[in-house]
Every structure is written in C-alpha cells, then in structure tokens.
C-alpha cells in the first residue's frame, strides 16, 4: 500500500506535488506556549489574588451552603426526618433524586481521567484535574442524602459491616448495601487518583513558593516529589493502574445505583436496561457539568490556550453522543413497556408520558425529554459547538434535564404504586428545597476553594502533550523534511514549517 502510494507520487513529481502528504495532529495547546508559560499560568492562579467574580460566586455559595445544608440538616436532625416531603408511599422523594443526581455528575470526572486515559485521548489533560475535583465534590454532596435519609443519622453506622447491638449483620444480598460499598469505594479511589495526579503539580507550586507557610503547606502535600525518572516510572505505572481500576469501578457505581431500582418489583423500575441507561445518563450529565464549570473558569483565569475550542468541541460531541444514547434508552424502555404486554408496566409508563387520563407528572417527563434528548441535538452543528453561549445553554439544560430524569423515575413511579389508596401528588417541603439548593452552594463553594488553593490544570500532563516533549520529535521533523513532505492541517490548509 505504502510503496504503491510512493510510486504514484513519484510519477506525478513533475506536477510539483509534494512527495509525501502528512496530516498533522491538531495542536492541543495553542500559540506555541513554552513549558515555563504553562507552569506560570496555572500556578499563577494559586499565587495571585482572586478576581472579583470569584468572590461574587464564593461568598453567596458558602452562605447558601451554610444555611441550606448546615441549617436545613440541623433542623432536620433536631426535629425528625418528617420535615422532608417524603411520606409512606413516596419514601424516597427528593433526597434520593438528589443523591442519584449528584453521584451521576461525578462520573464524567472519572471518565475523563480514567477511560480517556486508557484510550489515549490526550486532550483530556487540560480538563481532567478540574473534572476529578468536580467528582470528589459531587460525591460529597451525594453522600449527604442517603446518610440523612436513613432517618436517624446517628444510626448511619449500621451501614458499615459491623454487627449492630443485637449482633445482627447487614444483609449483603441487598442492593442498598452494595451501594454503600460502591459509593464509598468510588469516593476513596477518586480521591487517591486525584491526589496522586496532583503531587507533581503541588511540587511545582512548592518550588515557586516565596513565603514560609506556603512552602511548608505545599511542601507537605507534595511529599518531597523531585521529578526524577526513578520516581516517574512508578508514578506512571500507578497512574495506569488507577485508571485501569477506575474504569470498571465507575461503570459499576452507577450500575449498582440502578440496581437499587432494577432489583425491586416495581413497575417502571424492574427493567434490565437500567444499568447501561444510568451509566450513559451519568456521563451525559457529568460532561454538562464539566462544561458549566470550565467555560467560565477558562475565561476568568485566561486559560484559553490550554482549554481550547477543540476541547469544548470534543466535550460537546460527547454530550451529543451520550444524549442520543439516553434518548434511545428512554424510547426503548417505553417501547418495551408497551410491547412486553405487562399491564402494570405499561400503566406506569402511560401515566408517565401522559397517555393515561391520570398522569399528573407528564410535565416532568416532557421537561426531561426536551432537556436531555432535544437540546443536545444542537451539537450536530459545528456553529453550535463553537458558540460558547449555545454550549453553555445546552449544558445548563442538560443539568436540569438530568435532575428531572431522576425525578421522573422516582416520583412518578412511587406516586402511582400498587395500591390506589396510596396515590398522591408529591410536594417537596421547604427543607427539601433548602437542602438541595444548599448542596449546589456547597458544590460551588468547594469548587471555588479548589480553584483558589490547588492547581486546576494538570501541569505535568499538559506539558507532556506538547510536541517538543516527544524526544523523537526532531528526528521525525527531519525525516519529513528529507522526504520532502508537505504537512496539512485537518481542514486541508497547508502548513508552512519554515515560518512557523
């Protein structure tokens, strides 16, 4: 094949065509930024004063978190779990909707850091740190809900594998206990992954530190990292192993969350499509949250050369793809409910979509459908993927849509269970709303603190993706020149190497 191509090229040599046409990879970092520039730009965020906008987001978020989560939960614990809108038939209500919502958000972080690492998608390096931070904070927010939803939070230790006062052990056959193991493992492994990834960058900050406190704090966190290859080789192996461990882990977490529903005998929940459907939805919602956070951050801290339009374009494509997967899952579960001829299953879906005269939650279903299935379709068009307002708008809609997805699954089902006497319309209480809004504040406040104190871009890995970091780069360029190669960009434009 190759020799054949060469012969054709030689035959046409007199037509002044280059001997070899090379399609160059797109640059991940723009404007030929140097190693020092990258260190300076990212560490500079931690070293300089925060812009006004940072304070304008941090202070209200922190107050909302304190009042919502702190106040709301204090009131809940001192009064009783009845202050939430949950009741006998709707025993899960908002708390579990919020739990599944937040845990799903986290999945994009692990996808970016682990799955895209294993598939050698180098563009992940600019966004993986912030996405992993997002994972950690989202799981923190998620953990609050089931812990307090157990009713008496001081008894939450019953979930741990230790016998209770009557020497009774947990039921290991229950998906709820699997969930305890899955979520706590997920949190721990994500934290380890995040921290190991950060050690070399913390060392960068340590080596630039001017004052004693900063030197001590970052010095302690960096563990004395020196960047010797005898350290890097173990570090890289550790990173690879953690990526390989996190990949099945992240898929297992939302699979097990979906088991909470799928293993029950409840119409609308008892379906085998739930695990893949939940995982696709989680990645979909998580990427929307990454975009929601990263688009303002790159603008605020001048990171446009590191998080380029190419990165945003790629994320938008993933949203479009997973959005289609989610849309397929919605339609397929609907089709199977009808095709399966299970009276109760179809009844649950008919009530969900408004095909039954008693379908009080059809509005939520169509809200979900519009946000999750219709809005990502904009990303088929390049213009929409390149326009930050459109990207941000769609990401916001997806965030809302993914919350509604969980609301539709939990509330519409439980409000119309087996006994018609139990049927009711669910209203969240003020404490429900306070706690949920509080977790949004907590999430944003934690993310702001992350931006303030930790390197928000993976400096070492971004440097690694530069062309000059490939030790064979010069040889490769030389060989191309020898062969009389002409390089082209993806769009078909010729690259003039001499002037570059």
């Amino acid at each position: 094949m190759a020799s054949e191509a060469t012969t054709t090229q030689t035959a046409n040599a007199d037509v002044k065509r280059p001997k070899l046409e090379v399609l160059e990879r797109e640059e991940l970092i723009l404007n030929n930024r140097s190693l020092a520039w990258i260190t300076d730009r990212v560490c500079g965020i931690v070293e300089n004063r925060m812009p006004l906008l940072w304070w304008l987001i941090f202070i209200p978020s922190a107050i909302i978190a304190l009042v919502g989560v702190g106040g709301g939960l204090t009131y809940l614990v001192s009064t009783g779990v009845g202050v939430w809108g949950n009741n006998n038939s709707l025993m899960w209500g908002w708390p579990i909707v919020n739990f599944v919502f937040w845990i799903g958000i986290g999945h994009a972080g692990t996808l970016i850091s682990a799955i895209l690492f294993l598939t050698r998608q180098n563009w992940r390096t600019s966004i993986n740190r912030a996405a992993e931070a997002m994972t950690i904070f989202a799981v923190c927010c998620a953990g609050i809900f089931p812990a307090f939803h157990v009713g008496r939070v001081w008894m939450a230790w019953f979930l741990a594998p230790i016998p209770n006062a009557n020497a009774i052990w947990q039921n290991f056959k229950s998906p709820l206990l699997w969930d305890v193991f899955a979520v706590s493992t997920y949190f721990t492994v994500s934290l380890i992954f995040w921290y190991i990834g950060m050690v070399p960058d913390l060392a960068s900050i340590r080596d630039r530190a001017k004052n004693k406190i900063r030197k001590f704090a970052y010095g302690a966190l960096a563990l004395g990292w020196r960047g010797g290859n005898r350290q890097w080789r173990h570090y890289e192996m550790a990173y690879l192993l953690l990526a390989a461990l996190s990949t099945p882990l992240v898929l297992s977490v939302h699979t097990i969350v979906s088991f909470d529903f799928a293993t029950s005998v409840v119409p609308g929940w008892h379906t085998t499509i739930f695990p893949p459907y939940f995982v696709a939805g989680a990645i979909f919602g998580g990427f929307a949250m990454v975009l929601t956070l990263m688009i303002p951050v790159r603008k605020l801290f001048g990171l446009e050369d590191l998080i380029t339009m190419k990165h945003i374009d790629n994320m938008a494509k993933i949203i479009a793809f997973t959005g289609c997967l989610v849309g397929y899952a919605y339609l397929m579960e609907l089709f199977i409910a009808w095709y399966g001829q299970n009276k109760f299953e179809w009844d649950a879906f008919a009530k969900r979509i408004g095909a039954n005269e008693d379908s009080p939650y059809a509005w939520a279903y169509y809200c979900m459908m519009f946000c999750n299935v219709v809005s990502p379709q904009f990303f088929w068009f390049k213009w929409c993927r390149q326009n930050l307002w459109v990207v941000m708008g769609v990401a916001m809609l997806v965030n809302i849509g993914m919350w509604f997805e969980r609301f539709v699954i939990i509330v519409t089902t439980l409000a119309r269970m087996w006994l018609p006497g139990d049927w009711q319309y669910y209203h969240p209480s003020a404490v429900d709303i306070m706690t949920f809004v509080g977790t949004i504040g907590m999430f944003l406040a934690l993310f702001m603190l992350f931006l303030r104190f930790l390197p928000c871009i993976n400096i070492a890995e971004v440097k690694w993706t530069l062309r000059s970091s490939n030790v064979h780069h010069d040889e490769l360029e030389h060989a191309k020149e020898e062969a009389g190669a002409q390089s082209f960009e993806a769009e078909g434009k010729a690259i003039d190497k001499k002037h570059a």
Partner: protein, 184 residues
C-alpha cells in the same frame, strides 16, 4: 542543626530540552553509572529505556492487594451471611448458591484494596514521602518542576570522580554543572 560539615551529594547538570536530556541519559547509562537520575517536570517517554531501567514492579504488589480485597469480601460475606448470622430475607437461600449476590461487594473491595496498594506501593517504591533531600540545596534545581531538565550523578556511585565526572557531563552537553553538597 548545622555542624558546618558538608558532604558531597554529586554533580547536577542542566540540559536545554527533553531530547537533549534523553540523549544524554543514554550516554550516562552506557558509561556504566548506577546511582544517578534524570529529572524533568513531566514523564518523558522512552526515558526508562534510555536510563536502562526495567518495568516498574508496582503491578506485582497491586495484584496481592487486590487478592486480599477479594478474599476479605468473600470471608466477610460468607462468614456473616452463612455462618455467623444467617438472615433469611425475601426467601433467598443462605448457602453457597447465594454467590451472585455477593459479586458487587467482592468487586468493590478488590478495587479498593488494589487502589490503596497502588498509592502506598508507589510511594514506597519511589521512596516518598521524603521532605528533605540534598538536591533541594541547589538553587537551580527548583526548575526541575518548571522547565528545567537535569541529570544528577551521585558521589556514592563507584565510577564517580570529582574531575572526570564533571568533564563527562560537559561532554554530553550539560550546562550549569554544579557540585551539590548537603549540610550535615
């Protein structure tokens, strides 16, 4: 405590680019040095071969970490559900045939203990945490985590020689060659 006594750690030489460091590392390896390292702010691909280092032994330890997790989960679940306190819920059997229900926790604990072994194994193999190191005495070494590329040859290497090693580092393209001394 500063005794005023200094001990030579070794020579530190700086290189301009990753490629220069890579080529120089190959030459240091061929010269037969053993106690030395190359420093960069990012992992350089191919450097393990250039330095004559093999594959990291970390996966070996992680395997045993993961196996410990798996056996812990098996012992925990069968021990409690079949022997210690069989709880009959939803008419599910209380014997070995219940095993599919135990897969999720087996998987999670395998991953959890593997991850811990990875973390602590990596730290142990790269001899971290170690907050003080003679190389930190060098001013220019701060650039190792920024844009500097360094090779340090330690004095405890049997081939180390105060004059010849310096000349050798100059020969292979090192600049800003510095004798690093640690305060005792």
């Amino acid at each position: 405590m500063n005794t005023g006594i200094k001990k030579v750690y070794g020579y530190l030489a700086r290189f301009e680019t990753a490629t220069a460091l890579y080529k120089a590392a190959g030459k240091v390896r061929d010269k037969g040095f053993k106690k030395w390292d190359s420093y960069s702010s990012f992992p350089i691909h191919g450097m393990d071969d250039a330095m004559g280092l093999g594959r990291s032994r970390l996966p070996f330890f992680v395997f045993f970490g993961g196996a410990t997790g798996l056996f812990t989960a098996i012992a925990l679940q069968f021990g409690t559900q079949v022997y210690l306190y069989p709880t009959v819920v939803q008419a599910k059997p209380v014997n070995l045939f219940t095993i599919p229900a135990y897969f999720p926790v087996m998987f999670e604990l395998t991953v959890l203990l593997s991850a811990f072994t990875t973390l602590f194994g990596m730290l142990a193999l790269s001899q971290l945490p170690r907050f003080n190191h003679p190389l930190f005495e060098s001013k220019q070494f701060a650039r190792a985590t920024d844009d500097g590329f360094f090779i340090a040859i330690e004095a405890r290497d049997p081939r180390f020689n105060r004059e010849q090693t310096k000349e050798f580092l100059e020969e292979i393209g090192g600049t800003d060659i510095e004798l690093v001394e640690e305060q005792l």
